[in-house]
Symmetry: C2
Subunit: 378 residues, 2 copies
């Protein structure tokens, strides 16, 4: 087990990058997809299935965990890895994004953000120092700086204010992080909305502070895919080439491959599990809405050639029945199908970059998804 | 694979019996516990976990399956085993009990029962012949006669009326079942409430019709455990010794062992999964309510020596957290824990009968559950 964080870039193919992140809990191969374990669990899916899908790293949510069961309790129980029995790498976010999207009476000030817990109404202060402290208590392999994320579209002045505040918080997080255990890593977060000058200023200032990795925040928050990919394409090259790059909260398999093509190494998204619970399967053939009536008598599995048992072993008719009957097993099975598929997409991306044929892989994937050969979704 | 139904009694120990039921989908060792797969799924638990727990036979509910997705659709998809991908033995009930407990505007007549579907309000007729037809379409290994089950306490005249009607329906089911595939079996159901004269009359009349096995119905419907066990103790000896005996809808591990001691071979109950979803774990140490606050910081697993990975691998603190956080994984894990424990109780019962020490096993189990050594439940 490596004792400290380390990133190694092993190949490039155009802007696409192949790499390895060493952490105290094992190696992560990049480009990597991180399923979201919001409350120290991947919703509806057993850890063993998450792992079997090919998951090398999970994301945990600082906001949720600090409220329940609390970072101190998790620390007393041996840290997040031991608490949830996931002995592999974990990245925790800083809580900033959830404060913005979930908390009431949120108030952002220079010192930090104060908010009312959505659970019990308690007023809670989250400063850059506390965000880092919580993540050290959780013991994640990769911690994120506290930032302020602005929903798009927004005024440039508002985007700039939040970006500058996030930079000052980045410096405070870096200082606070000096108490972290050997091997823990801290990532900075580039803000700046859809304004490329602000993105560039943010990226250069963060690089000057020097982090173990760099995230692009404030995307997938209401903008179009075109805008997002433009920001990614123009910002990624400004980040240090020898550190991992993480596009937060993205996205569909197509979003992910397009961002890999533009130099991104890490992704997280709730889509595989959230959409799975709602009856949407991501497959080689594009998305399949299993709740549609035409699946009711279809004896075919979702994908007879899948590596995923749930995609091979159960008929579409049976999966359809589980959703119609309100059986939670349906959501679990489709979540598993989706986790496998997302990881398969990443395996394919890594193999393609290694072979210098990532552009072909992207084009073939696009064509396959668009062919609708198997979905009959009308 | 045996081509026809067969029961072999291999040992007895007092009134307790050890046996094997051969079915077209494999052998069931008795005493056996059948988890309930109401809608062609064990709620919240993957089939592979149900099987790994030691489950040899499942119960499916005719009432639910005839309404959704319909027996005809299941038949078109290859029968219930293929539809739900459970290639092992399945017993289906007749629908009578659910009609009583779930349907609206239920009307019982000589011909059968008519009721309004709880799903779409459609009026549906369930006759003895239709109940058998549905179960033949589902293709279960063991089908049950249609009966009328009366909640206790009830007037003797009402219990007798329902018992006599159930006997006439038993004859009609037997005739209708002649069309069943080779190897399918049909069980009769003894009714008679808590009146031993009625129970005896029902048992003798059913034996005269001759079934592949005999169930005790109309228990676990409101009476005390004492009353239930008295009926079991007095009725079981009146049933043919060379056929399996099934106590429907029972019960706790204690109920089951007490009934085994009185000559019962088969059981079904929703308790392992329903109670699991509500935070109650059945363990060697007695029931543990994982939602109780004192588990919040307890790093111990539910049972470090369990054969069940979920009972060994996750701390009580983590399981407690999952329930507090509303994560469905908590209910899934406790359901798995409970399914393993129920099957372990049955494995222990079979071993004890084989060794001629069932009375000791029962006494030890009672003492262990009562010791509360590990539950601190107050």
């Amino acid at each position: 087990m490596p004792s400290s964080f380390f990133f190694r870039l092993t190949a490039t193919d155009g802007a696409a990058r192949l790499g390895e992140i060493a952490t105290p809990h094992g190696v992560v191969h990049t480009p990597a997809f991180m399923p979201v374990g919001t409350q120290a669990a991947i919703k509806g899916v057993h850890h063993d299935d998450v792992r079997a899908a090919g998951t090398e790293i999970l994301l945990g949510n600082t906001y949720h965990l600090m409220l329940r069961p609390s970072a101190e309790r998790v620390a007393a129980l041996g840290g997040l890895h031991a608490f949830m029995r996931w002995p592999y790498p974990i990245l925790t976010d800083s809580g900033g994004f959830q404060v913005m999207s979930l908390a009431n009476l949120r108030k952002v000030a220079e010192e930090g953000v104060t908010f009312r817990s959505h659970l019990d109404g308690a007023m809670i202060a989250l400063t850059p120092e506390r965000a880092v402290e919580v993540q050290i208590l959780l013991g994640s392999d990769i911690a994120m700086q506290l930032d302020e994320c602005v929903r798009l579209p927004a005024e440039r002045s508002e985007i700039e204010r939040a970006m500058q505040l996030s930079l000052r918080w980045a410096e405070r997080c870096k200082r606070a992080f000096e108490k972290a255990a050997l091997g823990q890593a801290l990532f900075g977060i580039v803000q700046g909305g859809d304004d490329q000058n602000l993105r560039e200023a943010s990226a250069r200032a963060l690089a000057a502070i020097s982090f173990d990795g760099y995230a692009l925040g404030g995307l997938a928050v209401g903008e179009t895919q075109d805008v997002m990919l433009k920001v990614v394409a123009e910002t990624a090259p400004m980040l240090p080439a020898d550190k991992p790059r993480y596009l937060m909260g993205v996205g569909t398999p197509a979003d992910i491959l397009e961002a890999v093509a533009r130099g991104i190494d890490m992704f997280d998204c709730v889509m595989p599990t959230r959409n799975g619970r709602h009856g949407l399967a991501f497959t080689r053939f594009g998305p399949i809405n299993i709740k549609n009536a035409h699946h009711a008598e279809d004896p075919r599995p979702l994908d007879a050639e899948s590596r995923c048992p749930a995609a091979r072993d159960f008929s579409r008719a049976y999966l359809h029945h589980l959703f119609r009957a309100g059986e939670a097993l349906g959501g679990t099975l489709l979540s598993i199908v989706n986790l496998y598929y997302y990881q398969d997409v990443m395996v394919g991306a890594r193999a393609a970059i290694a072979a210098g044929r990532f552009a072909d892989y992207l084009a073939q994937s696009r064509a396959q998804w668009a062919a609708k050969s198997d979905r009959q979704e009308s």
